[in-house]
């Protein structure tokens, strides 16, 4: 019947014309281009002869299918060196880091939220700073401290002060990687757990106390099970970050040839065996996906409704004499995680010769010195070095652009998801925007490398373009901004928007006059957080930068490789200054909640 057909067509047109439906489709298309297609391109590349394979095999016929790369990675005589050993290293460091970070973060959370520890307020101000710093800040500081002359060129301050050449196991490899990254990642646990602890009504604990349970028993039997889901999430988050991080394991591991999988991805790309890198990236992605899936299965059945809105009262546990050792611990974590490394790095930037820690050796050359042939092969101080200033400009404009794009996209995704409520399209958009989260940073870089080194149809090769860097940073930050977009929209997209519909406002008017102003404050703090994340990003973009698109972080990397600790450290100090300025802004704007 033509009438019903026309009716159907009208309904379809109406449904498709709904803004949240159109936005949903656009987001899906974008995800297909920036995440899904590159992923399959990479998988494809692992099973096809590459141009570079001609060097390693006479059978290589670029473009033809082959299992050569899989053989090489999983079952050749090289496998142990290029895959199994790094895999074990990755797992060993990531698990150790997650456990240690949980221990530090958990203790910090409990001490700062639930006890009468002296200076709690002041300490909690600094407790999250380590995470705001670039992840390899601590690694560089560690090197400044423990570097030995056998492997690292100039000696570190430890040797200068004690006269003992630090042993390799202390200076490089597993131990320092675990310590420095645990200090960097503990804020995850700290934040998640202190959130959970705040939401545990002290009445639950007091109910146990009234029944005569001891403090330890209450902690074990009541508090711990309630915060367990938060603890598990913290573990997963830390683990998947640690797995995909490149800077620290490379800086601390490479001198003694201790490579993690993330580091071999980089070295394989540099050594022109990209397919091997892609397979390693695939393995990282699979591990990461598996563990996140397991976490969702575990926590889904274990969440408790403990947050009921208002007025919890909190009893603070009296620590008694333990408060002093506890204070030393909490203060120590912050000193080691923030102040000592930054002081060390800053000191290093002022040293004319890298192994002389005396006061006479101090100079501002590496900051403001003019080019001189006797020093650092004629490189001038970073504040008058064109390359570094160019990189700084790149970093800042990249971060601002990415933050703007991601923030806007997050708001739009939030709208599509919240307005679409329970439609499959909304669910798909929500899950889809979460995809980049499953891909460890370095693997993400590898995916993009495989996709964009050559031209795709009419699109020229994007490798080496600023556009590509912006795209990958945007894609990687999408899960975060989508989530903040969704939570911002949840507050305004219901009756608040419908009231404007009833007033006769079209979608654009609603967005401009109602939705955008109301989500702005929430997006602003999200904007600054993405700015910070991009500013210190290394793992994600290390495979994609070229001399034209250098950023501050990749410059640091170059100077570390060349052994100019002063330059590297000076740039880090510069990044830290920018990032901390951003963090303060975030806190100022983050406080003002919309509505």
């Amino acid at each position: 019947m033509p009438a019903t057909l026309r009716a159907r067509w009208n309904r379809l047109r109406f449904a498709a014309g709904q803004p949240h439906v159109m936005i949903g489709w656009l987001v899906l298309m974008l995800l297909a281009v920036v995440v899904i297609a590159p992923f399959f391109q990479m998988v494809h590349d692992t099973a096809v002869w590459q141009e570079t394979d001609r060097r390693v095999s006479r059978d290589a016929e670029p473009g033809q299918w082959t299992a050569f790369h899989y053989d090489r990675v999983f079952s050749s005589r090289l496998s142990h060196a290029i895959f199994y050993r790094p895999l074990l290293n990755s797992l060993a460091t990531s698990i150790s880091i997650s456990l240690l970070a949980m221990l530090i973060g958990g203790s910090m959370a409990w001490l700062l939220v639930r006890t009468d520890l002296p200076f709690r307020r002041a300490l909690s101000l600094f407790a999250v700073i380590p995470y705001v710093l670039p992840s390899y800040t601590l690694a560089l500081a560690w090197l400044d401290c423990f570097r030995n002359e056998r492997v690292g060129g100039a000696m570190g301050i430890f040797q200068y002060l004690t006269g003992i050449s630090s042993p390799d196991w202390l200076a490089y490899g597993y131990l320092p990687i675990v310590i420095t990254l645990s200090l960097h990642y503990y804020p995850f646990t700290y934040l998640l757990l202190s959130g959970a602890l705040v939401s545990v009504d002290a009445h639950l604990e007091e109910a146990g106390e009234v029944l005569g349970a001891s403090r330890g028993r209450i902690l074990r039997k009541i508090t711990f099970p309630i915060v367990l889901p938060a603890l598990l999430s913290a573990f997963i988050l830390t683990f998947s970050r640690a797995l995909g991080t490149f800077g620290t394991p490379y800086f601390l591991g490479a001198p003694v040839r201790y490579f993690t999988l993330a580091a071999t991805i980089y070295t394989n790309v540099v050594n022109r065996t990209p397919a091997v890198a892609y397979i390693s990236a695939l393995v990282l992605i699979l591990i990461s996906m598996g563990i996140i899936y397991a976490n969702q299965r575990l926590t889904a059945s274990r969440s408790f409704v403990t947050i009921s809105g208002k007025g919890f009262h909190h009893g603070l546990a009296p620590l008694g004499w333990v408060r002093y050792p506890a204070l030393v611990f909490a203060g120590g974590v912050i000193l080691l995680g923030v102040f000592i490394p930054l002081a060390l790095l800053f000191w290093q930037t002022l040293m004319l010769y890298p192994n002389d820690y005396s006061l006479q050796n101090l100079t501002l050359h590496f900051w403001i010195g003019a080019s001189s042939p006797e020093l650092a092969e004629g490189e001038s101080g970073i504040l008058r070095n064109e390359q570094i200033l160019g990189a700084a400009w790149n970093s800042i404009r990249l971060s601002v652009l990415v933050a703007l794009l991601t923030g806007m996209l997050g708001i739009l995704i939030g709208y599509a998801v919240v307005k679409g409520k329970k439609t499959w399209l909304a669910a798909l958009v929500e899950q889809g925007s979460f995809l980049p989260y499953l891909i460890p940073s370095i693997a993400f870089g590898a995916i993009y490398l495989s996709m964009f080194t050559g031209p795709i149809g009419p699109v020229p090769a994007l490798y080496g373009s600023f556009f590509l860097l912006a795209t990958i940073c945007m894609a990687k930050n999408l899960p975060f901004s989508a989530r903040s977009g969704i939570s911002a929209m949840l507050q305004v997209a219901g009756e608040i928007e419908e009231a404007a519909v009833m007033a006769g406002a079209g979608w654009w008017q609603r967005f401009r006059k109602i939705l955008f102003p109301l989500t702005l404050t929430a997006s602003l703090s999200g904007f600054i957080l993405v700015f910070i994340a991009t500013m210190r990003e290394l793992s994600l973009i290390i495979l994609l930068v070229t001399p034209n698109t250098r950023t501050l972080t990749t410059m640091t990397f170059r100077y570390v490789e060349q052994g100019y600790a002063q330059f590297a450290d000076a740039i880090i100090v510069l990044i830290v200054l920018i990032v901390i300025a951003g963090e303060f802004l975030a806190r100022r704007f983050g406080r003002k909640e919309p509505v």
Partner: protein, 365 residues
């Protein structure tokens, strides 16, 4: 022709049918209340009339214009239906002043500045908000916010007022005040009003007619007095009225030539009317229709006081006869105590009989 007509309107969410083949006609100038427990589909009906929800089937006409038709494929968007809606949460825009909130609908219609100022001022003074134009919604009390929401609806002069539980966020005292306000609004503007609530008192005081809904299906559509006195089903009888109506299971018997109701523990005489001897029925009696007596009278049932709950002007009692417990509302003072013997009487015309199988009122037709 009625001002608003809904014809076999159906709405499903996923597998759940929120509204099932609803027919509804509302005359111009009426105050129709849709009453029902949460999840009965009443808000969905309102939102479909407003245009915020698109039905799966059926047809909706407002003022003779078809605004939705599944058959014809007509969908008129919410902004073009000339209806005003007051939300449960008021949905005032927090970043705009009271003035800007009220002016928004006019600004969208590109009204010139002078007319806009005049009409906003008019709407504000009508809702007694003259001095609050520069305030932000958060700075107002709940009652004031409610009045801003009403002013925002009034300013564009819609032909139809829709209200979705507008008083549910107010405290008891303000609610009484706002009821009067809404009644005045309806009277003075002569606008057709559809009002959604789960509060039977609101429905009974405000409406010219009440539509009671349950699980997406219309149960009864009638003036408040009929809904209260002659509920069409056990569900309506149970839902409307406070304290809850008394139900007694039993059957009809012939007694000395007349029909009487036989419960397990009580026997009540019935008026001439529907029902045949031997039929199983449920008798329903409102608590205020039961007369308590201190001394025995002809036809009275003896019982015992089970509980006494004074409630200001009234006293709510429970009286027990064996296993049958009835709620009785007694106006004024009551001096009896728990355990005291008491007698009660139920006038035959106060009893409604229902079919226990279908739950429907037995009627003579």
């Amino acid at each position: 022709m009625a001002f608003i007509e809904l014809e076999r309107v159906t709405k499903r969410f996923g597998g759940i049918t929120a509204v099932e083949a609803l027919d509804l006609a509302v005359d111009a100038g009426e105050f129709l209340t849709i009453l029902g427990p949460s999840g009965c589909g009443k808000t969905t009906v309102l939102r479909m009339i407003a245009g915020l929800e698109i039905p799966d089937a059926g047809e909706i006409r407002i003022g003779g214009q078809t605004v939705f038709s599944a058959r014809e494929g007509v969908i008129v968007s919410a902004g073009k239906r000339n209806v005003g809606l007051v939300f449960q949460s008021y949905a005032l825009w927090p970043h705009m002043t009271v003035f800007e909130n009220v002016a928004f609908g006019l600004a969208v219609r590109r009204t010139d500045r002078k007319t806009m100022d005049e009409r906003v001022a008019e709407a504000l003074s009508y809702m007694r908000l003259e001095d609050l134009g520069e305030r932000y919604p958060q700075q107002l009390s709940g009652g004031q916010q409610q009045r801003v929401a009403l002013a925002r609806m009034l300013v564009t002069k819609p032909a139809l007022f829709l209200m979705d539980e507008p008083l549910s966020n107010l405290d008891a005292k303000l609610r009484m005040e706002m009821r009067t306000e809404i009644k005045r609004l309806h009277r003075e503007n002569r606008a057709t009003t559809i009002y959604v609530t789960h509060d039977q008192n609101e429905a009974l005081t405000l409406s010219t007619r009440i539509a009671v809904m349950k699980k997406g299906v219309l149960q009864q559509l009638a003036p408040p007095r009929i809904i209260y006195r002659k509920p069409a089903s056990l569900f309506v009888a149970d839902f409307v009225g406070s304290p809850t109506i008394n139900f007694i299971q039993g059957r009809i018997d012939r007694m000395q030539g007349a029909l009487a109701f036989h419960g397990d523990d009580v026997v009540l005489s019935l008026p001439a009317g529907p029902g045949a001897a031997g039929q199983a029925v449920v008798a329903a009696v409102r608590s205020e229709d039961i007369r308590l007596l201190i001394a025995r009278e002809e036809g009275a049932v003896n019982a015992e006081i089970d509980s006494v709950l004074p409630a200001g002007a009234d006293v709510i009692l429970k009286v027990r006869k064996e296993k049958t417990v009835l709620t009785v509302r007694q106006t004024g003072e009551f001096s009896g105590e728990v355990g005291d013997p008491v007698y009660f009487q139920i006038p035959p015309e106060a009893i409604s009989l229902y079919d226990p199988e279908t739950g429907m009122l037995l009627s003579s037709e």
